[in-house]
């Protein structure tokens, strides 16, 4: 456990030692800030059926920024170590491969969570200024952030897998971006293919991040997406571990 903790703290520190972390943080704050501002000013102009908090987590802005950040967070995880050769000292100490994989995954997750913390301020400021809560209940906040965490875990684990497959960070980023975008649009196919059966539509809807976020941000906690994202994350991490170990049997 101590070794895992050492690995994890190295990963987290690695983020904050690199300029990419700050670029991602700033980019993300700008986009989510604009998102929040637009939603509020839009709602000032007309009557709508949803809350500020719902609008914030379901806008185009939000999703645009959302799918972009994962490749940026995860591309360096393994690729950089392969490139710099630091994988050699890392894998020749008595540390298990799964400890390395989990440390990298959770390191990325910590950074991802840090990324979201400032958005809590938006809602606090909104409450302070307008004396109106941004959501209709505390459960809605909880649901939104829970869905963020679930989606984040899944997409970060995809990023881990692509990073372990190459020593080139750009390639890792491009592959994970493509994979995440494809998965994301899989959920939209049901709106494009109108002549499919309702079963197919339901099945596709099961993978729809947008739909899940819609449900959760209303404060409705559905266990099906939880099972989906947690299990998919585990699958991705197992694959990452296998790929990482492949250096041992690929001879």
């Amino acid at each position: 456990m101590r070794k895992f903790y050492a690995l994890l703290s190295r990963e987290v520190r690695g983020y904050f030692h690199s300029p990419i972390a700050y670029i991602v943080l700033i980019f993300f704050l700008i986009v989510s800030g604009i998102d929040f501002y637009f939603q509020v000013s839009f709602m000032n102009q007309r009557q709508v059926q949803y809350t500020v908090q719902e609008a914030f987590f379901n806008s185009v802005f939000f999703w645009f920024a959302f799918v972009l950040i994962f490749p940026l967070i995860t591309m360096r995880l393994f690729a950089e170590e392969f490139k710099l050769g630091t994988i050699e000292p890392l894998t020749t100490v008595p540390v298990r491969d799964w400890q390395v994989v989990l440390a990298k995954f959770f390191g990325a997750l910590v950074f991802y969570v840090v990324l979201w913390i400032p958005t809590l301020l938006y809602f606090a400021i909104f409450l302070k200024v307008t004396n109106e809560p941004a959501a209709h209940s505390a459960g809605a906040y909880f649901g939104s952030y829970l869905m963020l965490l679930l989606l984040g875990m899944f997409y970060l684990s995809i990023g881990c897998l692509t990073s372990v497959l190459t020593r080139n960070q750009i390639i890792a980023a491009v592959i994970s971006f493509c994979a995440i975008t494809l998965l994301f649009f899989l959920g939209l196919v049901q709106f494009i293919l109108l002549d499919v059966s309702s079963e197919t539509r339901d099945l596709l809807g099961y993978f729809s991040a947008i739909e899940h976020m819609g449900t959760f941000s209303r404060g409705v906690i559905d266990t099906r997406p939880i099972v989906l994202y947690v299990s998919m994350t585990i699958v991705m991490l197992v694959l990452t571990h296998q790929a990482f170990q492949s250096r041992k049997w690929r001879a």
Partner: protein, 311 residues
């Protein structure tokens, strides 16, 4: 400490090492010599469990480096070639991190990190970013890292490459001192270093072990087992013909155009012909200016073994 049996490693289409067999016992300092691309790094990487062998077996302290890799690694301090390090960490921070990874007990980390910094002369740069260090200091950080967990076995891949002569001398002293408690396998290009520090030497060429012995025995084995250089004014004599008659002299090579001739004598090993040469010179009334025994160096051994085929 190390036992290697029939170790073979093939990369796509080429064989890096084939059928290596050797043993390193506890307390030995084993030198690993060979030209670039001979398979030194490959062998060391397999021993450090960084890559698997294609066939064959290697054990460290009785643990198979592949099957029981974790236990094998726990006995090992490994310094990879070119010393890859995280350039965004500071020296102390890095060493503490590595100590934790190697399972050094928490309360001993500060002590161990302090010790290795002292030993490797890193005190003055302890708070610097590794990325800002010179090659020599990076090398020392790598060495300090290898020593952190007080391993039984040190595997050092070219520990002195890129160091200046003073630093090389320091590292050599360090390795010699370490050899009192640790078993060491080190690879290098710098031959005098091996002669001075190693108790045994393996010469590897094109993936095969060409020689494995103590430096002294190796010197004794090679054809040019030393020789004698004679510089003399021989007058009307030919010189070479007379010298050849001395027993033990195998070959004489003559140099020099003018009065002074220089003869290089190849001599059978273990025979000192200098006395005979002097007697011959006085007999024939030669004027002798130089009479030196040339000791063969490991460099001769190395060149002879690895230069067998033209490049």
């Amino acid at each position: 400490m190390i036992k290697v049996e029939n170790l073979t490693k093939r990369y796509a289409g080429q064989t890096a090492i084939r059928d290596l067999n050797f043993e390193v016992s506890r307390g030995e300092i084993m030198g690993f010599l060979g030209p670039n691309g001979a398979g030194k790094t490959t062998t060391m990487r397999i021993l450090a469990s960084f890559m698997p062998p294609t066939s064959g077996r290697a054990t460290i302290a009785g643990f198979d480096v592949f099957e029981q890799s974790l236990q094998a690694r726990a006995h090992l301090g490994y310094m990879p070639e070119n010393v890859p390090l995280y350039s965004d960490m500071r020296v102390t921070e890095y060493l503490r991190y590595r100590a934790a990874l190697k399972g050094v007990q928490h309360r001993r980390i500060t002590e161990r990190v302090g010790d290795v910094k002292e030993l490797c002369g890193l005190k003055s740069v302890e708070n610097k970013l590794i990325g800002a260090l010179s090659k020599g200091y990076r090398q020392r950080v790598g060495l300090a890292d290898a020593l952190l967990a007080e391993p039984d076995l040190l595997i050092l891949d070219e520990p002195t490459i890129g160091l200046d002569p003073n630093q090389i001398r320091q590292v050599r002293e360090l390795i010699k001192n370490l050899g009192e408690q640790h078993t060491i396998l080190l690879s290098t290009h710098i031959l005098p270093e091996v002669e001075m520090t190693c108790s045994r030497v393996i010469i590897i060429h094109k993936g095969r072990i060409e020689a494995c012995d103590t430096p002294d025995n190796l010197l004794g084995k090679i054809r040019q087992a030393g020789g004698v250089v004679v510089e003399a004014k021989v007058g009307t004599d030919n010189g070479a013909d007379e010298l050849k008659k001395i027993s033990g002299v195998r070959e004489v090579i003559t140099d020099g155009e003018d009065d002074w001739k220089k003869f290089s004598l190849r001599v059978e090993s273990g025979i000192d012909v200098r006395e005979e040469v002097f007697r011959l010179a006085t007999e024939r009334r030669w004027t002798l200016r130089e009479l030196t025994q040339r000791r063969a160096t490991l460099e001769d051994v190395f060149v002879e073994i690895t230069h067998a085929d033209p490049v």
